[in-house]
Symmetry: C2
Subunit: 316 residues, 2 copies
């Protein structure tokens, strides 16, 4: 792919998300190469025809030489080690990540003095499977891909990260790290917690309950099939935001329980829940077309637009 008009992309960590970025970037014509800590994982990717190594110094040397966009796709617990290597071997590359939580990643990037060329990212896609074998070049088609518009983000770096997201088939949601983390506590981390609780309650009903379980239980517990250590790696770094949402949720459920006990009714819960789900179904992404990265006040304008549901679907 040398000579491609698209810049190089170096993906560090080729599990479900990183692996899917590598596949999608390659499919979009990027010079895409990657690193996986485990040689077994790297070999799986090579067997599928992808350029993946388990030699971190070599891959980062190549990234530096090719001025590649580096995409960090390792789980949160492995982040520090990877950032340390980036700082050592490719400190001049533009850097993004596809880790679930944004403020803690930004803080780690700051600790490693890599903030100048960093733009946080988070594609909102996944499955309950994990690893390279579960990755797909189509995972991000029509997905939302959060891209940081925090103070200090450089327009050129933003463009490069956003263009990768668009080339992977996603739309870009511009968002502040802290607001992203509060939002995903609600729509990604809480679903995990509730799915685990529901699975536990079903299992406590024994074989009869599991035998009678149908679609609502299956769908409601789907993400409980995710490996526990991955769920923890996603949720625990966002503890502060998740605790706020869990407090809210406990209040909503306690009120519903009390209403059912005292008055035999779930009216308030079911009406509010139905309205909320209809709002989700009716929620339409609108296109942000009047802000160009680098324009006067572009960061503030994109923050406002993202906050009210706007997305970027083209940078032209």
């Amino acid at each position: 792919m040398t000579g491609s008009p698209k810049p190089a992309v170096c993906v560090l960590g080729t599990g479900l998300i990183g692996g899917s970025v590598l596949r999608a970037a390659a499919a979009a014509g990027y010079e895409a190469f990657g690193y996986n800590r485990s040689e077994v994982g790297a070999k799986s990717a090579r067997m599928d025809g992808y350029d993946v190594t388990s030699e971190v110094e070599a891959v980062l040397g190549r990234a530096a030489a090719r001025d590649a966009l580096i995409v960090v796709g390792v789980p949160m617990p492995a982040l520090d080690a990877v950032l340390s290597d980036v700082k050592t071997f490719a400190p001049g590359c533009v850097l993004t990540d596809v880790v679930s939580v944004k403020a803690p990643v930004a803080a780690a990037v700051q600790r490693h003095e890599l903030s100048a060329k960093y733009v946080g990212g988070h594609p909102m896609a996944g499955t309950s499977e994990s690893g390279w074998a579960a990755s797909s070049p189509d995972l991000f088609k029509n997905a939302a891909w959060a891209v940081s518009v925090d103070p200090g983000v450089h327009a050129d770096h933003f463009r490069r990260v956003a263009q990768l997201a668009l080339d992977c088939g996603a739309v870009v949601v511009p968002v502040l790290a802290v607001e992203h983390d509060r939002a995903v506590a609600r729509i990604s981390h809480l679903p995990h917690v509730l799915a685990e609780a529901l699975a536990i309650e079903g299992s406590n009903g024994g074989p009869l309950a599991l035998c009678l379980a149908a679609g609502s239980f299956r769908d409601g517990t789907r993400v409980a099939a995710t490996a526990p250590e991955l769920v923890r790696a996603i949720c625990e770094p966002n503890a502060a935001a998740l605790l706020d949402v869990l407090d809210d949720t406990l209040e909503v459920l306690t009120q519903a329980r009390d209403s059912l006990r005292a008055h035999g009714t779930l009216t308030e819960l079911t009406e509010a829940g139905h309205d909320a789900r209809v709002e989700f179904d009716d929620n339409e992404r609108w296109q942000i077309t009047d802000v160009r990265p680098g324009d006067h006040n572009w960061l503030t304008k994109l923050i406002d637009a993202g906050r009210s549901g706007g997305v970027i679907s083209s940078l032209d």
Copy 2:
């Protein structure tokens, strides 16, 4: 269909579940006819070629004349009126129902002095849509269909109800009404309550959160799209069992919240939830082959078998 070797089936209430029973029974070769309180609903069914009227006296007179199996498919709030009509116009027919909760239906049947020929039923299938338009002859394919084995159930009546379930494509789960109600509180009613709460929490995150929401939120809130009055009609009559499960769930979630707050970890929740979901995925129905309805102690044997995950997939 006159002259069919299969007996007649009369479905009272042709919404999603009753309508699907009517379609499936007709497809299986039964003389299947039905009643819907609203003439608009009855007409929709007739337009699709089904034999449905809004004249309750006429349909029950026909049921009595044809010795039809009567299937009550109305929501819980409409149950008393329909049972009153059955008592008046067709008291000699074998009677079953496809209402979600079993002990309250059995109590209503008792009040109307229809217990002698009653066998409760509950097919575990549905969608978030409702009404005749959403009904399908394939809704029950491979579904579990709970059939009552409470004291007093007559073997011939059990066979007739179980055979209808099998002919609709389901497998039969023999169960006591009270144990059924406890089980569905866990695997059907709790999923509704959690879906409503999750939808509310997502919506409270505003357009940004809804814009970022992906598969886990979509799946976790799917059943919140169900009409609130239907969710109430399903859950509220099972308040006692649902309250027990809600208390348990609040305890599980509170412990998870406290663990996250005090120790920054969700280890216990995620491991128990994952184990539970794996147990659900691995749970295999086993065939009950050694109990024939009417044999010595057949009710007790079927209760035990159903309790440990056994199903009936043939009555031959």
